[in-house]
């Protein structure tokens, strides 16, 4: 038995009792009927949150262990408040066979036997090449929870359709990285006033939105669900809102960097702000914030995309795309709570309940019998992302060297302390 006392939960002090890997009860502070031999953790001054689920990370193993490996990625997840992460298939080799999935799960079991849990995402097509369907039944049996061609959008709409249909029989949902391959070719950032001044090729927001419209119409026609990865543009939100209003089973994610930054972060050719899809205009950022609150955006993900220092230390042309997020996501989204744009219940919804519901993963609503996945968070602790404070091997965050507030102080998954 574990008893957490005096924690803050949605503005009131609570006690929490966990029995093994399950929540037993949560009560107002001082009213918890705990046995005398329960382990006690005094959480005075700390916020109690359910373990977050990150449905979109890149852990780089196998193949790119110099950027990140499953062990370092899961350690960053543990310290970031994530009890479960779903890792994308663009490893080397690509996760398009059961052998690769089993290898990933084996690495996770060795380094983090008690969590955070790893849920691999299957490549939708062999080698992510967009030519033929990956063996999805085999991948599902090995432990994949969803499928995606993330990073290599499927331009062949017929293949997308057949893959969605085939995956539906297996209970797997398609996570689509939406980007028109011709309209969005060779870009370095958002197309707009800033790209015009910097003299670099931009990606128009419509390059994202047209593909999302395609996916939604296809999902409606097939009566199947589809999940839209990392939405960056207001125009895309309008399309998703339209789809939802028609009753299409479309769900969508965005990432903390799209809520906190805009294209002006690219000033001075800042390669740390180069990301796919690109940071858009301040109007897009504000619309995304509203959409997270309103539920047009269902969930947040980090799209954690670690790279080695030298892969970002170059011209904007040469620098790779990607921003790390596991270490910083909670500090950044708590900033939105501080600004009254979101509240604590919203965080539980977008980082825990909805990802659990969409991908069929266990999630903690602090009801009796829920999984004992939770963490304690000090919202006031100030820290500066840097080589000494980041647990990910990747230090490629535009928040590097800036002062952030809020740190996870203790974290349990399945009732076991993971740090």
């Amino acid at each position: 038995m574990l008893r957490i006392t005096n924690a803050h939960h949605q503005s009131s002090p609570v006690d929490l009792l966990a029995d093994g890997d399950k929540i037993q009860t949560m009560t107002p502070a001082g009213h918890c009927p705990a046995p005398a031999d329960a382990e006690v953790f005094d959480a005075a001054g700390l916020v109690l949150l359910p373990g977050f689920i990150d449905a979109h990370v890149h852990l780089r193993e196998p193949g790119f262990e110099y950027k990140e490996d499953i062990s370092s990625g899961l350690t960053a997840a543990a310290h970031g408040g994530f009890c479960a992460v779903m890792c994308m298939a663009n490893t080397k080799p690509v996760n398009d066979t059961a052998a690769v999935t089993r290898f990933m799960l084996d690495r996770a079991a060795r380094s983090h036997p008690f969590g955070p849990r790893l849920h691999p995402i299957a490549a939708a097509t062999v080698g992510l090449k967009g030519k033929e369907m990956a063996p999805l039944d085999e991948l599902k049996a090995a432990g994949c929870v969803a499928l995606s061609n993330d990073g290599q959008p499927v331009s062949n709409t017929e293949l997308l359709r057949r893959t969605m249909e085939y995956a539906a029989d297996l209970g797997m949902i398609f996570i689509d990285h939406c980007e028109d391959p011709q309209l969005a070719r060779g870009w370095l950032m958002n197309e707009g006033a800033v790209s015009g001044l910097l003299g670099v090729k931009g990606q128009p927001d419509v390059g994202e939105a047209v593909q999302v419209a395609r996916d939604i119409m296809l999902a409606e026609y097939l009566h199947l669900p589809v999940h839209i990865a990392h939405v960056s543009a207001k125009l895309t939100l309008d399309v998703i809102d339209w789809g939802k209003s028609r009753g299409v089973r479309v769900s969508a994610e965005t990432c903390p960097h799209y809520l906190m930054l805009d294209e002006n972060a690219l000033a001075g050719y800042n390669t740390l702000a180069k990301v796919s899809p690109p940071l858009r205009s301040p109007k897009d950022r504000d619309a995304l914030r509203r959409a997270v609150k309103d539920g047009i955006i269902d969930i947040l993900t980090t799209d954690h995309a670690p790279h080695a220092v030298e892969e970002k230390d170059d011209t904007l042309d040469e620098a790779l795309v990607g921003i790390t997020g596991l270490d910083t996501a909670l500090s950044l989204t708590w900033e939105l709570v501080r600004e009254n744009i979101l509240d604590e219940a919203d965080l539980a919804r977008i980082w825990c309940r909805r990802p659990g519901e969409i991908f069929g993963l266990p999630w903690n609503g602090f009801a009796p019998g829920d999984p004992a996945d939770f963490f304690l968070f000090d919202p006031e602790e100030v820290w500066i992302p840097g080589p000494d404070t980041l647990f990910s091997k990747g230090h490629n965050t535009p928040f590097l060297g800036q002062s952030l507030r809020g740190r996870v102080k203790a974290h349990w998954t399945g009732g076991r302390r993971v740090f």
């Binding site: 015009g196 001044l197 003299g199 931009g202 904007l316 042309d317």
Partner: protein, 318 residues
Amino acid sequence: MNADNCYFWPHKDLLDVTQLSGEDTFHLLDLAARFQEINHRPIKKVPTLKGRTVVLFFVENSTRTRISFDIAAKRLSADTYALTKSGSSISKGESLKDTALTLQAMGPDVIVMRHASSGAAEYLAKLLTCSVINGGDGWHAHPTQVLLDCFSLRQAWEGRFTDHTLLILGDIAHSRVARSNVHLFTMLGVRVRLCAPRTLLPAGAEGWPVEVYSDIDQAVRGVDAIMCLRLQLERQQAGLLPDLAEYSRRFCLSAAHLRLAKPEVKVMHPGPLNRGLEISNDIADAPASLVLDQVSSGVATRMAILYLLATRNGGKTA
């Protein structure tokens, strides 16, 4: 040569004209005018930068900018060393960072770089302690070109910039010359017009302090100078234009256009010219053309830039 006692050049690098104040610009142009005199002497060399080292690091091809800097540096007695992409370790896969640090370790005072990536000069300037001159970075900026354009027009316009209109004609979107020119000339009070098909206009141009035209006959009316830009043949291949003959019919500057402009209109081109594509053959050689004057102005302007950067710590050298 005496630097003005009450003026101090504040910049380690020259990355874009956006960093220059009006005072910086006029000081530089005045200095260039004094260096221009040297270029008319029988012996075109002064000892001003004797013992200084200038590296010409041209990762993208260039004829006139590179040789212009080379001549400018040598006329000031600096030593110059040229490095091109094919002759450097970049062709063996060495990163820009490592190549630049290697060059710096040899102790140059100034590195002039031409690079195909926008922002490459800024990247280099942050990395290195020696002075960096942007000899053109991607589509972004080409400060020495537009300072020489400004030098030429200042002479042609007898020192007056206000009440003048400059038309920039052609591929604005992919032109570092256009971006830098728009900034410098609007800062000096010149009215700037752009004329291009919409596919060759930069994103956000509607927010720039310029007038935008797609019809050349409208655009040339009453202007004091027209700057033609080179059309890269790859723009047609990228699907931005139907074919070059159609481009030429719509946008090639001809004698008929000049008759719609001011009688004393000047024609400029940063080179290299595509005769018959963006500028008709007879215009390029007409008295209105400043094209060759731009080239000779380039040497004087670059002498002034090298002087200001190489002596910025010494203050009143030579």
